[in-house]
Symmetry: C2
Subunit: 252 residues, 2 copies
C-alpha cells in the first residue's frame, strides 16, 4: 500500500483525492489544507488537518497548490529526507525545499470542478532527482490507469506552454467562432462535430498533415471574402495572424 499525504484543496487536489481513493494499492492517509473548511466534507473518510505540525508519515507528500505557494509550504514542512512532490506544469522542481527528496507529478490535463473526467486518459509527467522516487511516482500513475512519461526540466515547461496553446488558445478560437455565428443568429451547435473531428484527426495524423483550408491552399479569393465578412477588428487580427501562420508552415 502506498501511503500518500495530499496537500491542497483546489481542482487538481480534489480530482487526485477522488482517484486515489478508488485505487486499490494507494491510501490517502491524510489531507492537509490551510483552510479546513474546503475539505471538511471529507472528514469521515480521511484524516484532515490544517496544521503542518500534525502531518503524519507517508511514502510521498503531494503538494497540489498554486505555483507561488509551493516554496513556502515545502519549507514549512517539519521533516526532511522524505519524498515531497508538486503537481505543477511550470513551477521548478527546485522550488521544493532541498531538505526533501524532490519530484514533480504533473497531470497534463484541464481540470474543472464541475466537469467529470476519465482520469485514465490523463498523462502523468514525472520528474525526480532519484531513480527510486521516479519508480514510486510511476507506480502511483499506473495505479490510476494513467500513462506516465519521464520528462526533464526543459520538457515540462515546454509541455505546459504547449498545453496553453492547445487548451486555452484553442478554446478562445472556439469562443471567437461562437461570436461570429451568434452575430448572424446561426447555431454554434452546428460547429460542434467539426470541433470534435478536428481534435480527433490529430490523434492519428500530425497537425501538419491534417491541415486543409483556404490559408493552406493560399486561396486568396476566399481569404479576401472572409476578411470582408469580419467586422470585428480583433477577429480580423486573429484571422490574419493565423492565416500567415499556416502559410509559413506550409511554405506559401
Amino acid at each position: 500500500m502506498i501511503k500518500i499525504v495530499l496537500l491542497g484543496a483546489g481542482n487538481v487536489a480534489t480530482h487526485l483525492y477522488k482517484v486515489f481513493k478508488e485505487a486499490s494499492n494507494i491510501e490517502v492517509v491524510q489531507w492537509y489544507n490551510r483552510n479546513l473548511k474546503a475539505i471538511e466534507m471529507y472528514k469521515n473518510e480521511v484524516d484532515i488537518t490544517d496544521d503542518v505540525n500534525a502531518l503524519i508519515e507517508a511514502d510521498v507528500y503531494i503538494i497540489a497548490i498554486s505555483d507561488d505557494a509551493i516554496e513556502a509550504l515545502s519549507t514549512s514542512l517539519p521533516f526532511e529526507n522524505r519524498l515531497v512532490v508538486h503537481t505543477s506544469g511550470s513551477a521548478r522542481l527546485y522550488d521544493i525545499d532541498q531538505k526533501h527528496y524532490r519530484g514533480v507529478f504533473y497531470p497534463l490535463q484541464t481540470f474543472s470542478k464541475d466537469v467529470d473526467l476519465d482520469f485514465t486518459t490523463v498523462p502523468i509527467c514525472i520528474e525526480t532527482l532519484r531513480k527510486k522516487d521516479f519508480k514510486l511516482l510511476e507506480t502511483i500513475g499506473e495505479s490510476l490507469g494513467c500513462k506516465t512519461f519521464k520528462v526533464n526540466p526543459k520538457q515540462r515547461p515546454a509541455l505546459h506552454l504547449a498545453a496553453v496553446f492547445v487548451n486555452n488558445f484553442t478554446n478562445q478560437i472556439y469562443r471567437i467562432a461562437h461570436e461570429i455565428t451568434e452575430k448572424q443568429g446561426a447555431e454554434f451547435d452546428i460547429l460542434k462535430p467539426l470541433i470534435a473531428e478536428t481534435a480527433r484527426k490529430v490523434q492519428e495524423v500530425s497537425p501538419y498533415l491534417a491541415q486543409t483550408g483556404p490559408a493552406k491552399r493560399n486561396d486568396k479569393k476566399t481569404i479576401k471574402r472572409h476578411l470582408k465578412l469580419l467586422d470585428n477588428p480583433h477577429h480580423e487580427d486573429v484571422y490574419n495572424l493565423m492565416t500567415e501562420s499556416i502559410k509559413k508552415t506550409h511554405g506559401r
Copy 2:
C-alpha cells in the same frame, strides 16, 4: 426513391457518393466528372459520364466542385427548371444559373480522402428558394442520418468562416504546440488527451465558461515565464494575440 446526379469527384463528392450508396431511399443515377479517370473505378456500380449533354433526369443535381467552377458548370447544364444545388460553404446560391431551381446542401465538416468519417455526425446546412426544395434536401440529409439546419444567405458564410477558425486555425495551434514540444524532444502525444478533452468540453459548456489558464486569470508571472520560453518570434506573436484575446473576452 430520390434520384440524384452527382457532379464532381473531389473529397466532398466522393464522401457523398459513398454515403448515398448506403442510403436505402437514395439512388445515385449518374456521376459526372469532366475528367472521367477520377471516377472510372466506380463504373461498374454507377453510370458515369464526362459529357453534360449525356446527363439524365433526376430529382436533384448536386454540384460538389471548387467554388470558382460552380457558375460555369451550372450554366452549361443543358436543361432548366430542375433542382441544382452546390455543396459549398462560401459560394453564393446565386452562383447557380437562374434557369434552375437553386439550392445549397452544405455538409459542414472536414473531409480528407484518407480519413474515414462517421457521416451521421455531419450537420447539413440547407439553403433554398422554394420550400419544396428545402423539404427534399432535408429528406436527403435525414436519410444519411444527419442533422439538418435551415440557414440563410448570411448565416452560411458566417458558419463557413467560423469553421475556418475551429478547424484550420485550431489545427495550426496544434501545429505550433507540436513545434514547441518537438524543440525540447518532448512527445506531442502527451498533449493528445488534452486536445481531445478541450474539444469535448465545449460539446457541453460554452467556450466562454470552459476557459481556464493564465490569460483568463491574468497571471502575469506565468505569462512572462512563457514569453521567455518562446524563442520563435512568430510563436510569440500568436501567444501575445491569443492572450490579449482571452483577456478581452474575460474583461481583464
